[in-house]
Symmetry: C2
Subunit: 581 residues, 2 copies
């Protein structure tokens, strides 16, 4: 037996017991005739004491132990002379009488401490050492807890965990599908699912009633900094429900998770907002409502005063940065440069300072009287000491730019505390999105989302205005999850494919299996999927999804450690009937 | 709101309440002026009552409802005149006052009843209807329970659920890997894991201490009747453990699962047997010990008596079929034909009948005296009324054949009750397996399995005799799971790759990431993986893994319903730089 206890277990009440521990040497120090070694495992740190006078050999051995050596020790639990109140085992130590070296270690390339000297790249290259560090271990522990508590909650609500296939049929729609050649069916390919959407809908037709799965999904596309080609979803579907039932159920899940995993309790119900409101007020369908700084539309009062930039703009928006009137020229120039970067794309930034002495100072003094500017201030709720930041242009574009500026100001002013959590349901998403390049509509969510009944008459006149029974849960500027009430009627589903430009034949070939199933008593149903990676990172108070994945991939899709993917063995390719062009 | 209760919920105490239910029309019947409809959902069946006199319109509507129509009904819960003791809701019915048709259904291609008229193929084609049938639903429910109880047990034991990648590095060893071309790294491929073996070992190096995952694994190979290209493992690994710790932990898991999911309690500890004993006694490393019929070796007493078939054979084995001495000529001929089929490959079958009148009758009377045969009987424990079945040949071959015959006899004699569960640990597997064709050793388990210290000196003289610290859990003739204590020493791991014919360079290229990790303080570790599909099917008392999978694949790897894989879109291929040769 390698151990009787873990390194996080011994307390005052164990004093006098002979125990065996195994773990890693965190560090050691010599003090007088004593050598103290901190022994670490996943559960904690226990201090080992070696006494040179009582046991010279053992102490000599202990002094040779390097950092991260793996050892097994036996000894008596004794009370510590100088107690360490910072760790749960700090009142005791082990008076070691036996020591076995289980494995040596090279000098680690960075220190295995909470604060390490290892840079990102080095830590990722030696991820197995990085995970030994407490902050990383805690992130993986959090993920484990979130997953298990999700299961417990959903199980208690009658949801059934059903596995859906990973090797699925490839469809032409799946332009971002990974494809997997099949040996058994030469010249044919599986695809990896971007989500189990159609399978979970079939399970509703099957009468499973409440389905969930924590499931890997795949997307073969450009990897931005914090995107992974494989990602994990908490995927759920329910039958005989309306939108309200779904919102309640998953609001319950999120509350349960925050309570059990983070000890955070939300007061009352999560606030709700329509997509349209969210876009008007925050320029985003996942607004961060930890802080105000809502958009104020100045178009009605700032146009027609002879300032050509405004007069030619579709929309003029401002946000009120409280207590920022003392921003310096340099700070304002920096902000202007920031919004003019290509990623944001604004042509300029206009400010109005409401100085504490009551004067008003603006970059457009030439065009607007103090009374005009005071009127802006009134509309935007500006008080003495505040700063208005103004952008203008096409409505969609200026909303996007102002959203970025608002979040940037939120960061600058420290208004985005990662330990404050502000959920928001965003409702009534549009059903369709017009694609200028393709000159056709695409489903904003996916083609299985149901339109709102009261809007469906717009199908021939103005399809872009049809709202969907679709909803997202946003938190702190992050989309945690989203879903919709689905179509469960074959005819309506077929109309939807028409609208999306499918021929009858294409629709039948690709989604016939689902539409056929709808003919055999499909119940009304809907669902929601959370991105586990994002949920966990948000709960952990971090922006970085990668930190919460044990083996993340880097920007070119390679495992940070194991260096996947790799060139393939040509024999394997031949066997598959594939050649690389 | 679609419902206030489910169809499995209403009881005597609900009488007088007005409730709303939604579900499927199971069947309906007219009786006098009444129409009764059985309304079904996942949770049960509730009887709906329509009274023609009280509500002619509604009753007329109800009479038009076809099987599997989806409806919503409102009404008062009343006591049933004639109660149905067979279902939990059988004391009440719903006096319907409102009916909404939610969706119609075509006539299902088979009856949605426990006993259906649909054949296998039809049921698989319409799997979403098959799942509505109670026996299928119960199998998926069992799977869900097993998975959740596994998580609960392992979590309570300190195991952490850590996700490992699905898109991994392809290695030349992985001849049965699925490969996945990467858009981001042209000409390079990911592989899909056959198991997360190396990742879980890295997690042990990371100090995760106890890891588990219920995880999809993949194998691109011929699909036999009950094999799936994607399968699910309960994958576990532990640090600072010896074999005994692992056996105890997972024996605990299996006991927990049987108790909580099946209500079955095992008495005492699971029996154990070495691989060598299992092969000698049952000719199998996963013996079914629900019945005896152990092999008895007659080689010592049946050779040298002038019967050339025996004299030339390496090994002569018999099993004792109790109470079968009255097998007819026809039955014995059928058995002989059975063992001579190419799948078994025996050249013949010899029998000895120990008749109830005390006489002995054998197919080799010519060569052996009654005293000889009596001696065989004594060795095999045959009593009056028993039948010995004898096979001979090369040791390995005859053991395999006799194993098949024994299981066949077990089936014939009804000795393999699917509701009796007999676990058996099989220990001390050989480390290596000699491959005649390749003229080299292969790892019997995998190259990370540790050899037994006491055998390791055989490495230069007789490597085939080295036993591994490897173990399987068998039950009812099925291998539920297996594992080993791993190598955690770089040098030993390197020696193992030598033994398996890797050059130093190959070993470093393919498994360098793991051997390098071993240099930074790898703890002693080991683990085990259960095949969830097999575990669940065994617990459910079935031979068929497919029955326990919501969307199984058929023998050519196609989803039974969705018809994957599919020919790929040529544009997609071009984009991937791939052409089909």
């Amino acid at each position: 037996m390698y151990r009787t206890h873990t390194c996080g277990e011994l307390r005052i009440e164990h004093i006098g017991q002979t125990v065996t521990l195994s773990g890693w040497v965190q560090k050691s120090r010599d003090l007088g005739g004593m050598t103290f070694v901190d022994l670490r495992d996943r559960y904690g740190i226990t201090q080992l004491a070696f006494n040179e006078v009582e046991n010279a050999d053992l102490t000599a051995q202990a002094r040779k132990l390097g950092r991260e050596f793996v050892i097994q020790v036996t000894g008596e639990v004794i009370e510590r002379a100088s107690k360490n109140k910072n760790i749960p085992t700090g009142e005791v130590e082990l008076k070691v009488t036996g020591l076995t070296l289980l494995n040596a270690s090279k000098l680690p390339p960075f220190t295995i401490e909470d604060e390490t000297d290892g840079g990102d790249e080095l830590r990722m290259q030696y991820r197995y050492l990085d995970i030994r560090r407490n902050p990383v271990l805690q992130k993986l522990t959090l993920r484990n807890k979130v997953a298990l508590e999700t299961r417990k909650y959903l199980d208690a609500q009658g949801f059934m965990d059903v596995e859906t296939p990973v090797l699925i049929k490839s469809t032409p729609e799946g332009a971002r599908d990974f494809v997997v050649p099949s040996r058994m069916n030469e010249g044919q390919f599986y695809a990896l699912p971007q989500s189990p959407q159609t399978f979970k809908q079939l399970l509703m037709v099957s009468g499973i009633d409440r389905y969930y799965q924590i499931v890997k999904c795949f997307r073969d596309e450009d990897l931005r900094a914090d995107r992974q080609p494989e990602f994990t979803q908490i995927d759920c579907e329910m039958s005989f429900v309306e939108q309200e039932d779904i919102l309640n159920t998953f609001e319950g899940l999120v509350k349960h998770l925050f309570k059990t995993v983070r000890g955070v309790e939300f007061e009352g119900e999560f606030p709700r907002m329509t997509y349209e409101q969210a876009m008007e007020t925050y320029g985003s369908d996942k607004p961060d409502i930890r802080f105000g700084m809502e958009f104020v539309d100045l178009s009605g009062i700032a146009k027609g005063k002879g300032f050509p930039v405004f007069d030619n703009a579709e929309t003029i928006l401002t946000i009120n940065a409280k207590d920022c009137s003392e921003y310096t020229r340099k700070q304002l120039d920096a902000l202007t440069d920031w919004v003019k970067r290509p990623q944001i794309g604004a042509t300029g930034l206009i400010y109005v300072k409401f100085n504490s002495d009551g004067t008003i100072k603006s970059s457009v003094d030439k065009f607007f009287s103090e009374a005009d500017l005071a009127e802006w201030g009134k509309l935007a709720g500006a008080e003495k000491g505040d700063l208005l930041l103004v952008l203008c242009g096409g409505t969609d574009k200026v909303r996007k730019q102002m959203n970025e500026l608002r979040l940037h100001m939120g960061n600058e002013l420290g208004l985005r505390n990662p330990n404050v959590f502000k959920p928001l349901w965003v409702l009534d998403f549009p059903l369709l999105e017009w694609d200028e390049n393709a000159q056709r509509y695409f489903a904003m969510h996916h083609p299985f989302t149901s339109p709102k009944k009261e809007d469906f008459h717009l199908i021939t006149t103005n399809p872009g205005k049809i709202r969907a029974n679709a909803y997202d849960l946003a938190m702190n500027g992050v989309e945690l999850g989203g879903g919709s009430i689905r179509i469960h009627d074959r005819e309506l589903q077929s109309q939807m494919f028409d609208l999306l430009g499918f021929t009858k034949e294409e629709a039948q070939n690709q989604f016939g299996f689902l539409m056929n199933a709808f003919e055999y008593g499909a119940p009304p149903h809907g669902g929601l999927a959370f991105g586990l990676d994002r949920l966990v990172a948000t709960m952990g108070g971090s922006d970085s999804i990668r930190d919460y994945i044990a083996f993340p991939k880097n920007n070119s899709g390679r495992d940070v450690m194991i260096d996947a993917p790799s060139p393939i063995n040509p024999d394997q390719l031949k066997e598959l009937g594939i050649s690389i062009g």
